[in-house]
Point group: D2
Chain length 342, copies 4
Amino acid sequence: MKVSIIGATGYSGMELIRYLHNHSFVEIVSIHSQTETQEIDQVYPYLKHLLSLPLEPIDAEKIMERSELVFLALPSGISKEVAVPFVKNSFPVIDLSGDFRLQEEGLYEKWYDKDASHFPLIQGFDYGLAEYREDLSRPFIANPGCYATAAELSFAPLLQNQLLDKQSIIIDGKSGLSGAGKGLSQASHFTEANDNMSVYKMNTHQHIPEIIQQFRRWEPDLDSIQFTTSLIPVTRGIFMTAYGRLNDDRSIEQLIDLYRTTFDGKPFIRIQENGCYPTLKQIVGTNFCDIGIGLNEETNIVTLVTVIDNLGKGAAGQAIQNLNLFAGFPETEGLLQIPIYP
Amino acid sequence: MKVSIIGATGYSGMELIRYLHNHSFVEIVSIHSQTETQEIDQVYPYLKHLLSLPLEPIDAEKIMERSELVFLALPSGISKEVAVPFVKNSFPVIDLSGDFRLQEEGLYEKWYDKDASHFPLIQGFDYGLAEYREDLSRPFIANPGCYATAAELSFAPLLQNQLLDKQSIIIDGKSGLSGAGKGLSQASHFTEANDNMSVYKMNTHQHIPEIIQQFRRWEPDLDSIQFTTSLIPVTRGIFMTAYGRLNDDRSIEQLIDLYRTTFDGKPFIRIQENGCYPTLKQIVGTNFCDIGIGLNEETNIVTLVTVIDNLGKGAAGQAIQNLNLFAGFPETEGLLQIPIYP
Amino acid sequence: MKVSIIGATGYSGMELIRYLHNHSFVEIVSIHSQTETQEIDQVYPYLKHLLSLPLEPIDAEKIMERSELVFLALPSGISKEVAVPFVKNSFPVIDLSGDFRLQEEGLYEKWYDKDASHFPLIQGFDYGLAEYREDLSRPFIANPGCYATAAELSFAPLLQNQLLDKQSIIIDGKSGLSGAGKGLSQASHFTEANDNMSVYKMNTHQHIPEIIQQFRRWEPDLDSIQFTTSLIPVTRGIFMTAYGRLNDDRSIEQLIDLYRTTFDGKPFIRIQENGCYPTLKQIVGTNFCDIGIGLNEETNIVTLVTVIDNLGKGAAGQAIQNLNLFAGFPETEGLLQIPIYP
Amino acid sequence: MKVSIIGATGYSGMELIRYLHNHSFVEIVSIHSQTETQEIDQVYPYLKHLLSLPLEPIDAEKIMERSELVFLALPSGISKEVAVPFVKNSFPVIDLSGDFRLQEEGLYEKWYDKDASHFPLIQGFDYGLAEYREDLSRPFIANPGCYATAAELSFAPLLQNQLLDKQSIIIDGKSGLSGAGKGLSQASHFTEANDNMSVYKMNTHQHIPEIIQQFRRWEPDLDSIQFTTSLIPVTRGIFMTAYGRLNDDRSIEQLIDLYRTTFDGKPFIRIQENGCYPTLKQIVGTNFCDIGIGLNEETNIVTLVTVIDNLGKGAAGQAIQNLNLFAGFPETEGLLQIPIYP
């Protein structure tokens, strides 16, 4: 299968290239950038002797001639423009931005503070939470956000089974600095970020409506969540602790069983043993989502400790998982490299 | 005033020395170690040309002869032995360990998994949450734990005024590696801790009963809290996000007012502006406790973002604040150095 | 080809497993540890769903029955014992320790401060600097040290062509903390290593005689070098700046040409463009050795900036490169994964 | 003594404020910024409850009325303009930029690639290497660069005594990211700098002529040095390894004696014991310059390991030391705080 990547020089684009380099059934036929026109290994010298491909301007016509699917690894607000000719021609698109995720009119404008794409276009997209997709044949996939992926997979078993007090969900997310992308900012200046931790976008993060939208598919009465996002001084990874109150008594063993059963056959979800919690590093560089479960039996509060790589399961990894599901490849193809440790 | 420090070579002991070096009314007459017998600047070459004092063995008699107060900066389990002769002689003690904090029989054994000190001895100690001490003249002070200090100051205004749903408190604490002390461990090995984050002692941390004990002084019906502790790859500091549900409607402005009023005249508590949250680095090296307050008006959940230096307000800084209160010195004496930035 | 790994749970052992997981012609039939007996993915949870193999005790007989080659990823001093039965049976060994590198009697004892292996045994080993091996069929390979690899590849073109003042070589090496292995120490305690840099083993590092031994193969009159080793707060990688004085005038263009010519056809050596120097991160997770060359035309001093991954080209990567050369596989097999970035 | 600080919000300006806060004989009467007009504790919330001063525009007349000396903590190229009215009025100036350091016409233009100040103005400035100043009464002081300070103090005893081969000096400097200031750049983006190390300005760093200028005061025949600058992932500090060849035999003990004698009575120079080398952290936050000395007796090459805080002895600390010398205060006044550790 021949694919193209638009936005190849961003962190998610580079991660798509990294995973696809190991994919047996996919060939990257072209990579595209809005700004760069060199060979990719001149922009990124670490690729020398590994991969050389020219960065090309974005020309939808040419891409559709040569390729069978396009990844859009672009910032929110830009994807919605670039996607149009592909969608109009029914050409398969996996979009990594937030532009096509919110399936209720007006939500995008409110949370992203930008004009939305034409709403019927948005409706054509399938929300690509890979473990929960229904119609794998749909050619337009809105790949989920990083925090959203972690939050949704964390709570899925509880919400699908109506086990939670609907008012009780609190999500405390921490992200490495690559989550903020390549753009320079005061918060990502080394002297500011090193040895520091800070909260940002308290209760205003654009992944909140995306999470609630998915939660409501499982628990339609759910209205709101408490969602905190913060920066930790690591390059990659999301470390999420999340809380919810059970609406009746259950043992920790029953809970872990429920999670194992729910994710049985899902190769990228790894439920930790009772008493064990994942560390951030154990998933960096991978498409895994590792979930540890705790229960405070005095309060009936469940604590979920969930880790994903924001550029893996939180972006490029899940995008390739979605490609595999769409194209009928094995779900794990290209995604089972052993990561670098330590 | 002449003071001695036992356990001077640990991180808290060194921090006592650092602050007292700037104190106008206190002289360190002796420092003591269980293991070292050199000059302090041979153990710590960074002190050369700044401070030279011999490390002496622990001899309570001699200390009581030369000194007027002793700091115990020792691990829990050891303090309780070393403290005995001082207490028996009514010699003032400020203890930085957990050995004299829990004022209910049996609690220490349960949470510390060690034999407790003789209970009447424990009862002689005053819990030294500096902003909430009642009888400043008591000569035996149990200096609070680092997480406990942050948690108690965070919730004090809400609990004192019975504003919270008593079941709703969730505390998500993150600590730098110095919180684990100088002892080597796998979790504090650089290659493991760098670029990593991990949860430890989920719902079993020994500061839990200490927090609940203090919370009950304000809200006697409170039974339990949810308390998560984790390690972030920084050397110093506690970054705490904490959650609770208001039991009636209140605006964010009212909340911030409440916090400002509560801590009016408290020099080390800095309430952030509406919409602002503290960063970890802004308190490293200081005795400040900075609190940012958020309110999710849809859910009535308050989010508290609180930062302290685990070795400052969380240990040595507060110990000196307690000394100042006990001795009648200005509360801030020795504690208002400008910290290093960036 | 079937291989076994002894010392699989150390950092180099784990890195062998990582690379071989991607190798088309090699199967790991067994992994062995002196201390662990679990499945490897129980020791290292990050391997769950990726690799499960039992850790077995070290039994040379059984290994020789099932396998065709053994990697020894053991500390210096232990390898020399474990290697004996394999060598005696002419069973192929690639040893990653320092035990079989020094081909002059007495050197090992002096620099490692331990008893050496039986000297004829040492003589049976070929020094495995992959780009400079002569007889690829030799079955006993002493894989070079990490600093040594970087130093030797840096100076090879200059020394092979007798271009340097023999007294002028100064090597200033910096290593990430993984170079010190999994063993706990004060220097690798996070609170000590973070935000710090320190020198260790000044002019006494055990790689010095190994470097001189190889340098003398190119420049027999060379007697000594200046060699500084230091720790930088990164997990992986060696960053080496090295200096030597040219013995006659040459332009920077000529020098770069010389390096390009020398390493023509060597897939893992990447000579940087004029004016460009490699960054450490560009080789982390790879088997590359990237070299940047500067020339101070006023002093005729050449500056070489060389980076390798201490666990890649400095250990496991080069070991697999040596396996490929020995077995007649393509030199790059298993070694051309795109690394994680950023 | 009343002083003003221009450029107060930069890293060096903030460090001046930090040190002067502890100075018994100096009062900061005004602080000035080109861009900010708030209170300093609104720009830097970490200063709340510690220091509140309004940031004022730069008005030389008003400063000269209220103040007795001005610090210029401005970027090179801007200082030279701002300094003019003060110099013209013989008002004391301590300038932390590079604008007034190079006392040979044409050098500044070449190395800074900018127009120089009027040369007679430059000649009015005294180079402020505090341990080597001759006429302390001169009112215009060009405070040395950070790398320059470390390099000059490292080699002073050897050059003053003509002990070195003049062609042999190699300086390998590493700097923390604060050396690059508050300005955002790709190299100081957290995701790039973290876990990385890189070389910059190889043999073109603007401190080179400054170093040579000072070296020639001790050793007039010296022509050139080899000077490498690199970035290490720490916030603060310069770690320098430097090399030179002795021109006759000397023991390490003799060398250490020479250093101790040379710096006898210099409170901020700490010569390490034989076999000991300083770590970076031991000087962070201080005005110390710690020097460790090694000798390779085979090659007669001396290795100097020197650490300073780039914002302390490398900028603001030395500026205050120069103020103390100029004003006749004790040399160490305000500079002997115990730094934060760990």
